[in-house]
Amino acid sequence: MGTVANIYDNGPISPIARVKDNLSIYTTKKWFHYRVEYIEPWPRSSPLRVDIVALAGAANIAANGTLAKRIVPLLQVTDGEMLHVRFEPLDDVEGAVYEQPGTGKFISRNTPARVDLASSLRDPYLAGSTFFILGFQREMNLEVFNPNPIALFQARFQFRGIRYIIETIVPQLPAGTTDKQREEVIRRLGEGDKETVAQYIGPTTWLPAEGR
């Protein structure tokens, strides 16, 4: 605990924390603090496979064309749940991840990276495709590109990962704490101030889940 571990390591996927560990998650430009209550695997299997051409209701993905970014329903979760996901295309297409429609993931200033058919060869455990989904209506969006000079009739993607159930930690402040002091502690917890987190949350695993 207390370190970022196994999140983007180039190895097989494994839980980033254990049951009853604390988890501090960076999302919407703030740190939120949770306790892991439950973990289960989400194995690679046919229900976790989606054909984006069919999902889009399209006849095909055009030659050198794009299927606009869209929510992938199999990745939707409820509040209190978190998915830790890796993915790959099964057809010769490329996928770009968006944290909700507005913010690209795996990006530099000008360019989003994509996961393609060859990603698994250089990165056999697909660690470089890792992303997280936390809670209801916080879905990822997937944009698909066809690098071929012909239309393709399938653009299948396979997902797998780990599912967590997490509980929000309510910091226990000493009796007599004023409202102003409470606000300051909450502000510092949101900033991810390490000393404040150590004092009011305890040892935690820092998870930079979303870069927005």
Partner: protein, 139 residues
């Protein structure tokens, strides 16, 4: 339709059938190409990629013929990449990966007559020869 090659000299590339079909390769759908007696397209090079030919299969229902496989120069002439093949009357023929040199098909935008488009073509001496190819695309 395609798969990642995991071992051998083309490891890391994507194997797939030629991405055109029909008379002279007129349809942008993978499948069987039927020659028309002059140039026929067998595979179109995707933007930003190159490829090697890993298999060629044909059937000649007509008289004895020849097949020249290559790419198209920017002066619209065939640039042969492999030796001329005999397509004997009424027989099948095939060239496998071990029999094909690792000629890399890629775009060369140099002005004619030096450059070429990088697509795979066949110049058949007769029409109606059936041809399919398999390629390994580097990306």
């Amino acid at each position: 339709m395609s798969y990642l090659i995991q071992s051998g000299r083309y490891a890391g590339m994507t194997a797939k059938a030629g991405n055109v079909s029909g008379p002279a390769g007129a349809f942008a759908i993978p499948g069987l190409v039927i020659t028309i007696g002059v140039l026929s397209l067998l595979h179109t090079l995707p933007v930003g990629r190159s490829f090697y030919v890993t298999k060629i299969m044909w059937y000649n229902p007509g008289v004895a013929a020849t097949l020249a496989f290559g790419t198209l120069s920017n002066a619209a002439a065939l640039v042969p990449m492999f030796p001329l093949q005999n397509a004997l009357a009424g027989l099948n023929g095939a060239l496998l990966e071990e029999e094909l040199t690792a000629a890399e098909f890629m775009l060369n935008s140099t002005a004619a007559p030096n450059g070429w488009d990088g697509n795979l073509y066949v110049a058949a001496s007769i029409a109606l020869i059936q041809i399919t190819v398999e390629v390994a695309e580097k990306s």
